[in-house]
């Protein structure tokens, strides 16, 4: 009779839960029933009944108790691992502390860098639907001015794409219309703020936490404004200001505060302090006129919330079609839209201009993905170096544990036991280091926060994922660094171990060599990187910019009267004794807001119009900033309002020839102007253009950051159709600056009492260009220091150990007449050789990396050979010092002491 077996899983289940002493006979009974039932009622029914029976057997009394399930043996072994691990660590105090120290250092660097990188990578992720929110980017191309990519789109696109494109769930519009004084009508104190305008869906799409107010209705009504807690504190000195009134100085009606927002977290791209409802403008005639057919302008930042699973590129395609379906573009114009995920806004916006803002609003700060990449690598490498230290020291010390391993194996330890033993040891070390590192990091955090201008804290809910990653990585490092030693040491044959008490370590030693080379390669690359960064930052700060930036006070023009009445203000300022020169301009060199650009060509010349930057300046501009003239003359009087100066680059571009300048017959044709990358006609009459005479050429000066090459610049007179004046530049003398400031302020306030007196020192403002570089330089130099230090700790350990191993040999050599110097070189040679090899590998890598980074700057230092020589010498020197300390100590020991015992 062919017998068919019941389903295996049922019996397995029984076996799993059933007390072992009951199991066999119960199973026998069940099988007997099974056979009978199968014969009676068929297989399926028998299976079902068997299953039912087993389920009924699953009850206390038959289920085995968990205590019996775990053999006592395992607990004992685990405990033993810890005891033995602890004892071993304690026995080799020097090596253990070297390990712990190295790992702690590595982890501190890793955690700090990790916090920074994590923060940069989680930008704008606070919003619930963050991964469904996209920013609409407009790519434009026209027949004349090439292409532009702007993070902005038209009004109607936002309005209609919700209906026309099914994947779009919601859209919202935002505008930064300029800067204005925001005042509490009851207690007028001027606070200069960016005017941000958004529609009612803005607060629904983004989860900016509201302290007070209703996010659905806050921006619905006209004349509503939502402000942040910080702004409320600045204006009212308290935060509970719901339903109070505020007023922008340029507007007639007061605005009602309908919501208080929490301040933005540091990792947010949004930096507005107030949002006015878009509906405030709906009744304005001009608004309607501008928006009702606006499909393709770049006046609004548009965000779209897509439905889950929507395919962003195809949605963008549909949006582009929507624009084409509704608006006839001028011939030769092309336009396409793309959607940028919100999470990419901070780090991946290179080449995308921040649109939909007035030119006097600063663009949102961007992160630099290159630095994030460098930092991630550096952080992981430092941790690796520390891990390698551990591996090296443990494998190097293997021979002193040969007896232990041999005896363990003889007694009956299997390989698994030994591996676990070593892993537990390395995990104990890692755990100790981790605790130490966390303590150190929490102590270092306040100064570090100040330094990188962020607000990290170690223990917040938001950083849970960070902790998860960090702990996983650290456990991985523990296992990896202990793992190699564990595998290697547990492999040996016990008989060979106990007989010869040594292991054939040639292959193992070469792995160790490779690891040391790796450590020093990384360290040398970091040293070179730090030197290059240091030199470049120094270069940036010390380069002659072509104008005088010292003690230059720049005062913003924030009220109308400061602009119209500038002659009087200038004259008053010049009377202050500490003031050397005063000039008014529309933009200043080293400007932090947008430069206007124009298209220009020399009248009568063939060819296209070309792009140049343009500023307006008075006749004192050149002397105040000490910019030399190369040819022609400066502005002299109001008659020069249709005259311009050009810089050398612009002269070259426009084909201005120096000889003809005195004659004043070279006229430039300027038809269009761009405030935000987008060229529009300069005058209402499209065919009209500004046609000034060129009266002089000035020497090139760096009016932008040194990242950019000097661009063509047109300097128009202060009274010009391109841009009105916006700043006073006051050159002052160094003594008693506060008093000078006080006097200047009183002049400005006398001119207009609403004056907020906003000023900057140009030098500080220029330093902001390179602030990030400077910061990174400091971080990198610390990390480089740490990595060299850790690598040296490892080398020190290895050297100490190898010296200990060769004590007898050295004793013999000494007895036979070896000199101390020859002994030292004998002991150091091996290690220094490794460092040499490391340098050879590091140089090309560092050269490649440094050149790539320097390419970001139009003006940069050259990477010269001596940087490499210096770094190589530093690495070798430090390694030599580390090793030779041990070597000298060993070489100086009296041979009697070493040899007497044998």
């Amino acid at each position: 009779m062919k017998r068919s077996a019941p389903p295996r899983f049922i019996l397995r289940f029984l076996k799993w839960f059933c007390k072992p002493e009951y199991h066999t006979d119960i199973e026998g009974d069940l099988l007997e029933f099974y056979e009978r039932r199968r014969a009676d009622a068929g297989r399926t029914s028998a299976n079902v009944q068997l299953f039912r029976d087993v389920l009924f057997l699953f009850r206390p009394g038959i289920i085995q108790s968990p205590a019996i399930h775990q053999p006592l043996m395992n607990n004992g072994m685990i405990k033993s691992y810890f005891i033995m691990g602890w004892r071993n660590l304690w026995k080799g105090k020097l090596y253990s502390s070297l390990n712990v120290l190295g790992l702690t250092f590595g982890m501190v660097c890793f955690l700090l860098i990790g916090l920074y990188v994590h923060d940069e990578l989680t930008f704008d992720q606070q919003h619930l639907d963050a991964n469904r929110i996209y920013r609409v980017i407009t790519h434009e191309r026209n027949p004349n001015n090439g292409a532009s990519t702007v993070a902005a789109a038209g009004y109607m696109l936002a309005e209609e794409s919700t209906h026309a494109v099914p994947e779009v769930e919601m859209t919202t519009r935002m505008q930064r219309a300029g800067r204005a004084n925001l005042v509490d009508p009851e207690n007028p104190v001027n606070v200069q703020e960016t005017v941000t305008i958004a529609d009612e869906r803005f607060l629904q799409m983004f989860d900016f936490p509201l302290i007070e107010g209703d996010r659905r209705t806050a921006l619905k009504e006209p004349n509503s404004i939502v402000i942040t807690e910080d702004l409320a504190m600045r204006i009212f000195n308290r935060a509970d200001v719901l339903n109070k009134n505020l007023q922008f100085s340029h507007m007639q009606t007061p605005l009602k505060i309908t919501g208080i927002l929490k301040d933005h977290p540091h990792n947010s791209s949004f930096n507005f302090t107030s949002v006015m409802s878009e509906s405030t403008q709906y009744n304005e005639g001009w608004f309607k006129e501008q928006t009702e057919n606006d499909w393709s302008s770049t006046s609004f930042t548009v965000y779209a919330l897509l439905k889950p699973d929507a395919h962003a590129p195809s949605v963008a395609g549909k949006m582009t079609k929507l624009v084409y379906a509704n608006e006839e573009l001028e011939p030769g114009w092309e336009l396409s839209l793309s959607l940028q995920p919100l999470k990419d806004v901070h780090l991946r916006s290179e080449g995308i201009a921040d649109g939909a803002r007035n030119s006097n609003v600063e663009s949102i700060p961007q992160g630099n993905p290159l630095y994030i990449m460098i930092f991630s690598f550096v952080g992981i490498f430092v941790l690796l170096i520390a891990g390698i230290n551990y591996t090296n020291l443990t494998t190097a010390r293997a021979s002193s544990r040969i007896k232990e391993i041999g005896v363990r194996k003889t007694i009956g330890a299997v390989r698994g036991n030994l591996i676990r033993q070593f892993l537990v040891e390395s995990l104990i070390t890692t755990a100790i280091s981790f605790v130490a590192a966390v303590i150190i990091v929490s102590l270092l955090l306040p100064p570090f926060n100040d330094f990188v201008n962020k607000q990290f804290s170690l223990f917040t809910a938001a950083s849970l994922s960070f902790w998860g990653i960090a702990i996983a990585l650290i456990v991985a490092i523990g296992i990896l660094s202990g793992g190699y030693a564990a595998l290697l040491l547990s492999r040996f044959n016990p008989v060979a171990l106990l007989k010869g008490l040594k292991i054939g370590t040639t292959s193992d030693f070469s792995v160790r060599k490779v690891l040391v080379v790796f450590q020093f390669t990384v360290s040398t690359v970091m040293i070179i990187g730090t030197i290059v960064l240091l030199m470049q930052v120094k270069f940036l700060n010390n380069t002659n910019l072509g104008f005088d930036k010292n003690l230059m006070l720049v005062i913003d023009v924030n009220v109308g009267k400061a602009r119209s009445n500038f002659e009087w203000v200038k004259a008053e300022m010049a009377k202050v004794p500490a003031v050397e020169q005063v000039s008014v301009t529309s933009r200043v060199p080293g400007e932090w807001k947008t430069f206007y650009s124009v298209k220009a060509k020399q009248e009568g010349s063939a060819g296209e119009h070309q792009i140049a930057y343009a500023i307006g300046a008075d006749k004192d501009f050149l002397s105040t900033y000490d910019i030399p003239m190369l040819d022609g003359r400066n502005f002299q009087s109001e008659n020069d309002s249709s005259a311009i100066l050009v810089n050398e680059t612009a002269a070259k571009m426009l084909g201005i020839t120096p000889i003809a300048i005195g004659v004043g017959d070279q006229v430039v044709d300027i038809p269009v102007i761009a405030r935000n990358n987008f060229f529009t006609p300069l005058f209402d009459d499209v065919n009209a253009s500004f046609n000034p005479r060129v009266i002089g050429i000035v020497k090139d000066f760096h009016f932008q950051s040194l990242r950019d090459r000097i661009q063509p610049l047109i300097i128009a007179y202060n009274n010009n159709p391109i841009q009105p004046i916006d700043y006073y530049s006051v050159k002052i003398s160094p003594h008693d600056i506060p008093r000078t400031l006080e006097k200047l302020k009183s002049i400005m306030v006398k001119n207009d009492e609403r004056e907020p007196f906003e000023y900057h020192f140009l030098e500080d403002q220029l330093a902001l260009f390179y602030l990030e570089d400077q910061r990174n330089q400091t971080i990198l130099s610390w990390v480089a220091f740490a990595s060299v230090f850790i690598a040296c700790l490892g080398l020190f350990g290895l050297a100490t150990y190898s010296a200990e191993q060769r004590l007898k040999e050295i004793g013999m050599r000494k007895v036979l007449g070896a000199s101390v110097v020859s002994l030292i070189s004998l002991l150091s040679k091996d290690f220094v050789k490794l460092v040499f090899v490391a340098c050879c590998i590091a140089f090309p890598i560092a050269w490649w990396g440094a050149s790539r980074w320097l390419e970001e700057y139009a003006y940069h230092i050259e990477v010269t050979w001596w940087v490499f020589a210096l770094a190589g010498m530093m690495a070798t020197g430090i390694a030599l010092l580390t090793v030779s300390y041990q070597a000298i100590r060993t070489a100086l020991v009296s041979p009697v002491k070493i040899l007497k015992s044998e």
């Binding site: 006979d25 026998g28 007997e32 029976d53 057997l57 009850r59 009394g61």
Partner: protein, 110 residues
């Protein structure tokens, strides 16, 4: 003397083991109870009762032979111990006592 208290099902199982003298193991006990008393018995309930009775000392067990249909799994044969028999007797005695004390009239009432 320790109090002897048998549950109803315990008593049934104990008696059945006695009935099946020499051939009492899981399968036969279940069959016997189901046949004689006409009630269903789950293996779980039966096994747990057997084990409980054994741990209380009313039953003892030994491994028996195996058959083909059990695939080599031995039978666990149960036998009543002296203490078990005492327990049964005590239970019966106490019931009889109650029976005897019952007024005749009550029984006639139908």
């Amino acid at each position: 003397m320790k109090r002897i208290q048998l549950g109803e099902f315990e008593e049934v199982v104990l008696l059945t083991v006695g009935v099946l003298h020499g051939n009492a193991y899981g399968v036969t006990i279940k069959d016997e109870i189901e046949q004689r008393l006409g009630r269903g018995v789950t293996i779980g309930a039966l096994q747990i009762t057997l084990r409980r009775l054994e741990s209380k000392g009313y039953l003892k067990s030994k491994l028996g032979e195996s058959t083909e249909s059990r695939r080599g799994r031995p039978k666990l044969l149960f036998e009543i111990t002296a203490y078990g028999r005492k327990a049964l007797e005590y239970t019966k005695g106490s019931r009889d006592e109650l029976w005897n004390a019952l007024p005749k009239l009550v029984l006639k009432l139908k």
